[in-house]
Symmetry: C2
Subunit: 323 residues, 2 copies
């Protein structure tokens, strides 16, 4: 006990050191080196690339970058589950698309209903309740829902190397944000617990909302109308709206992150753009240019000329999921 205490004290007194391995799940190699070189350069006072902590903003995509997105986006699995839960109160859904296809498990039929179908799905499952009610629904679902293939909780299928990266950046006085095409209020109930990223540091797609009095008390009510799509060219706009300045580091995995990566890495300051490449069929999934979810084509082709780091999940990561 005393020895343990003394040891802890010694550890505590050792100043934060670049030689300590903050990224133990990353293999030593070019990808890891590019990340640590960048972080050291911008956070070392006196370095030519030094950037004050206020401007050390890092943005992470969520689906496919911090957690899995196969065989479908987790939020889509949530929406489908919600339709099934709500179906008894909506007998008309048996004959109305996209609900009919959802209830019969026909994903191709859901996809065929297009953007109109998607908006109806969002309206039926994400709107028509207060903000507090939706947070509880999303939080309760994520606490128990499991991946169809692995049987794990979705929140157990987050990427350990990326969690280490988030913590490494925070330890170097970066402010870390999620910037996702996913729904902002679907993520907020659990990002603090799972990633250590609080609700105010989550940027995402949103539906409209308004203030109403519900049972005599003011409440935010969620409306069945898309407000903002935080994907592709929407990501820099979402960052500008929520954060108010250009990040110096961006992490993504698909073409939906192209503009965020490009905007981040075309500023005057030193910057880092990084793409997680899903090339590990054995431990996770292997997909890129032809995938329905998380298509990575244009951004992969541009990575060399843009100077973006492409991380191979298979070769650069010692471990994929937390243990």
């Amino acid at each position: 006990m005393l020895v343990g205490l003394a040891f802890a004290t010694v550890l505590f007194l050792v100043p934060y050191s670049a030689s300590a391995d903050d990224l133990p799940s990353w293999k030593n190699g070019a990808s890891k080196q590019q990340v640590t070189n960048f972080v050291k350069a911008v956070s070392t006072e006196g370095s030519g690339d030094y950037i004050p902590a206020t401007d050390r903003i890092a943005v992470f995509d969520n689906d496919g970058t911090l957690w899995g997105e196969q065989p479908m986006y987790v939020q889509l699995a949530f929406a489908l589950d919600r339709v099934k839960s709500l179906a008894p109160a909506h007998p008309e859904w048996k004959n109305t698309e996209p609900f009919k296809s959802v209830l019969s498990g026909d994903l191709a039929g859901v996809a065929a209903s297009g953007e109109k179908g998607l908006v109806e799905l969002v309206a039926a499952t994400h709107a028509g309740m207060t903000g507090d009610e939706f947070s509880k629904i999303a939080g309760d679902w994520i606490a128990t829902a499991r991946h169809p293939k692995t049987g794990k909780l979705y929140t157990e299928m987050v990427y350990q190397p990326m969690l280490e990266l988030v913590n490494y950046l925070k330890a170097n006085d970066f402010t870390v944000f999620i910037v996702s095409g996913g729904g902002i209020e679907f993520m907020r109930p659990w990002t603090e617990r799972v990633y250590g990223i609080p609700s105010q540091n989550v940027v995402g797609s949103s539906i409209k909302s308004k203030l109403e009095h519900v049972q005599g008390k003011p409440a935010i009510v969620r409306l069945p109308e898309i407000d903002f799509i935080d994907d592709g060219p929407g990501k820099p706009v979402g960052i500008y709206t929520h954060i108010g300045r250009r990040p110096i580091a961006a992490f993504g995995n698909s073409d939906g992150d192209f503009e965020m990566l490009e905007w981040t890495t075309s500023g005057a300051k030193r910057s880092l753009g990084l793409i997680v490449h899903h090339d590990d069929a054995e431990r996770e999934f292997a997909y890129d240019r032809n995938s329905h979810f998380g298509k990575l084509d244009r951004a992969l082709s541009a990575s060399k000329t843009q100077g973006w780091t492409v991380v191979s999940m298979k070769n650069d990561w010692i471990q994929v999921y937390p243990q």
Copy 2:
């Protein structure tokens, strides 16, 4: 020198204490007591009202709460100055409202142009450039523009007691946000320097923007179209969008803060609502129910039944501006 060092060391070793006066510009009295009682109750572990740091969210209105708003909102002074600067390139403005009235110094004429005039004023002065360009314009202006009556920089006309309050809350692990009817990008260039509140913790009204390539590089371009009005019932919506949860403390000074105060103080947790009452004609300005800017009528009448603290600038503040 050595004595000074030793003294500093002793100060450093004294743990944060409730008896130290964190609010030296506040007179000891009911208002100050209500603030400190609240902060102690929610931040003392074991207290029945204890609230974890993650949920200690405090929101401050800006105009009239953190800095002055008389004889007009500072941002309106900025817009009028911008019209004068841009006028040589717009000879047609001499005969077009609201510009004609602005150029002839006829504020009643500007007001008479109504919402349509205001939108045109915003479009001409706040849009049509990149986000970086607008930040520079706003930052340069605020660094030199002076109040017509006092001759002080506007950023010197911030309220010292409120700066102390922001710091006091931060020292007690609150996360502090500005939630203003003013333009979000007008405030962001200087809130960190003046208030210690970073750009990502500023919520405000906004115009639309989009991503474009300007001279071959991606840039945010500001569009001449209102996106969101963060005032009145818009404030809880702005908070929900940007922060994602209900605050436990709200600070305002006008009817535009009513809904923010009401939503904040109607949650299940212990909360604090506070109104700054401008009743000090000698040191600042005296106005409330009939003021054109910062009208305080409905919120003042409701303060007693709502349990909101009403701060008298005249009686509760030892000092108004930083010295």
